[in-house]
Amino acid sequence: MSVKSPVIPGFGPTLGVTLFAAGLIVLIPISALFLRAAGLSWEQFEAAAFSPRVLASYRLSFGGALIAAVFNVFAGLIVAWVLVRYDFPFRKLVDAMVDLPFALPTAVAGVALTALYAPKGVLGKLLLKVGIKAAFTPFGVVLAMIFIGLPFVVRTVQPVLQDLESQHEEAAVSLGANRWQVFTYVILPAILPALVTGFALAFARALGEYGSVIFIAGNMPGVSEIAPLMIVTKLEQYDYAGASAIATVMLVVAFVLLLLINSAQKWHQTRMAGR
């Protein structure tokens, strides 16, 4: 840790610019949201944020984001593992492509996934043959959420896997551990914090995602409407207060979840350090 000295110039102006911009662009608008929601009576808040249609949208958004994030933990770990440990043709190219969901505008991902998984689409046709309707159902929502969350898990796990010293694995092997035991007792504990972080990031992103989900969802009331869409719907009816109420619920729940995961990680770290 470097000692920060008062010798270096520019603290005042840079902090001033930062505070001004953060206040104007981030803080004041965000506080407008909470003030608007706080201006509602409980009955009004409940009517807007907990109506049956909105509750169904929470179930889909939170449930779908959970399923997608769990899937991404497994899929992301396998992808990261293969990229770090195995050699195969075009490995570098594949590695670079993992970031595609970060770089591809969400609306493009949305229309592309829909074209792919729609009943007439290439993959949608195949799925329909085995009796699964993908696009315009909650399953389609989960597919889009998997797409948008996958790189978060890969990119948090990959560097940890890369930096893993082989000595511990060698030691375990010399003590007679088989490959599966080495994985569960040596590798998994080391990458677990990264997996949890990746899970949290993928979950949070899927929860708030709009562009890539909205096209494939089909948006049937009570069935395949996501929570961000409910905010848009309220806004289209000029119901600012209702939109603020739903947004507040989403922000608070997402914030509490991230807080829980952060403290779980801190607890894990102190426990590991205490050993």
């Binding site: 000692v3 920060k4 000295s5 010798v7 270096i8 110039p9 520019g10 603290f11 840079t14 902090l15 930062t18 911009a21 953060a22 662009i25 981030v26 608008p29 965000i30 407008a32 899929a75 396998i78 992808v79 593992w81 293969v82 570098k92 594949v94 670079a96 492509m97 993992v98 595609l100 969901p101 770089a103 591809l104 505008p105 969400t106 609306a107 493009v108 229309v111 592309a112 074209a115 689409g121 290439v122 797409f147 082989s166 694995e169 060698e170 092997v173 490959r179 708030g208 995602e209 562009g211 961000p228 905010i231 848009v232 806004l235 600012y240 603020s244 947004a247 922000l251 997402a254 914030f255």
Partner: protein, 280 residues
């Protein structure tokens, strides 16, 4: 490779199974959507594709997207550098709170990012009546789109620079100051060369997001054809009109932007790794 005897490697069958699983996941979720974009865009041939791209509303959406990025990227670059400078080079009370605020836009749904600006500048918003009285349009106009994009792309540059500049410490800068350099000279000659790849990386990601943002912009834009539609919104409008070739033609431009972004990003990482290796 005598891999089957290497105890640090999985059995051959397991390796093949894992590689195939990864390949299937990446094929279904990454490559297939990309191929579909170009396939659908060119499904009626090159002429139809080019006609779709030269349609006036589409051309104006390209112009608007470039304009928004041209405003947002330099602003967030300047603010990001300032934020990284004061956070990485100084200690002060409330620093972790400030970094949390800087990171906040990453964890807010794009739709909520749009909503908060409607609450401030919209007709029923805080400043709505005043703006209306003075005939100033923010929501459903360019300023609203710029503000929402500024919010969404706010953390990108600072996020890349802060860890780099913290790692670098303050000794070089202190030496420069003791030799009589002023603040700007210290930044230009000492700090910037060390963090230039990180800065370019942050600017690149900021630009990609600024051009591609959909949710936040969709809420504040009002979708006025040829006036307040950016390229991602134009994709949506054309798609909802079942004009698939045109929708995917615009989408293909954005997909190319994403591919170029990934290529340049990989190049930056490669250059940065090379310089790190050379410095050792």
């Amino acid at each position: 490779m005598s891999s089957s005897l290497n105890p640090l490697l999985e059995p051959r069958g397991v390796r093949i199974a894992l590689t195939l699983t990864a390949a299937v996941v990446l094929l279904l979720f990454l490559f297939a959507p990309l191929v579909v974009v170009f396939g659908e865009a060119l499904s009626r041939g090159l002429d139809v594709y080019l006609d779709a791209l030269t349609e006036p509303d589409t051309v104006s959406s390209i112009g608007l997207t470039l304009l928004v990025a041209a405003i947002c990227v330099p602003v967030n670059m300047a603010v990001g550098i300032c934020a990284a400078w004061c956070v990485a080079k100084f200690d002060f009370r409330g620093k972790s709170l400030l970094t949390t605020i800087i990171d906040l836009p990453f964890s807010v749904s794009p739709v909520i990012a749009g909503l908060i600006y409607v609450l401030v500048f919209g007709l029923q918003g805080w400043l709505g009546p005043w703006l209306r009285a003075h005939d100033i349009h923010v929501i459903f106009a360019l300023p609203g789109i710029v503000l929402a994009t500024l919010f969404i792309t706010f953390p990108f540059v600072a996020r890349e620079l802060i860890p780099l500049m913290e790692e670098q410490g303050t000794e070089d800068e202190e030496a420069a100051v003791s030799l009589g350099a002023n603040g700007w000279q210290v930044f230009r000659r000492v700090t910037l060369p060390n963090v230039k790849w990180g800065l370019l990386y942050g600017v690149l990601l900021c630009n990609a997001r600024a051009m591609g943002e959909f949710g936040a912009v969709s809420v504040v834009s009002g979708h006025i054809r040829g006036r307040t539609t950016t390229m991602p919104l134009q994709v949506e409008i054309l798609y909802n009109e079942y004009n698939m070739v045109a929708a995917f033609a615009v989408a293909s431009l954005l997909a190319m932007l994403a591919l170029v972004t990934l290529a340049v990003k990989t190049f930056f990482e490669w250059r940065y790794a090379k310089e790190l290796a050379a410095a050792k």
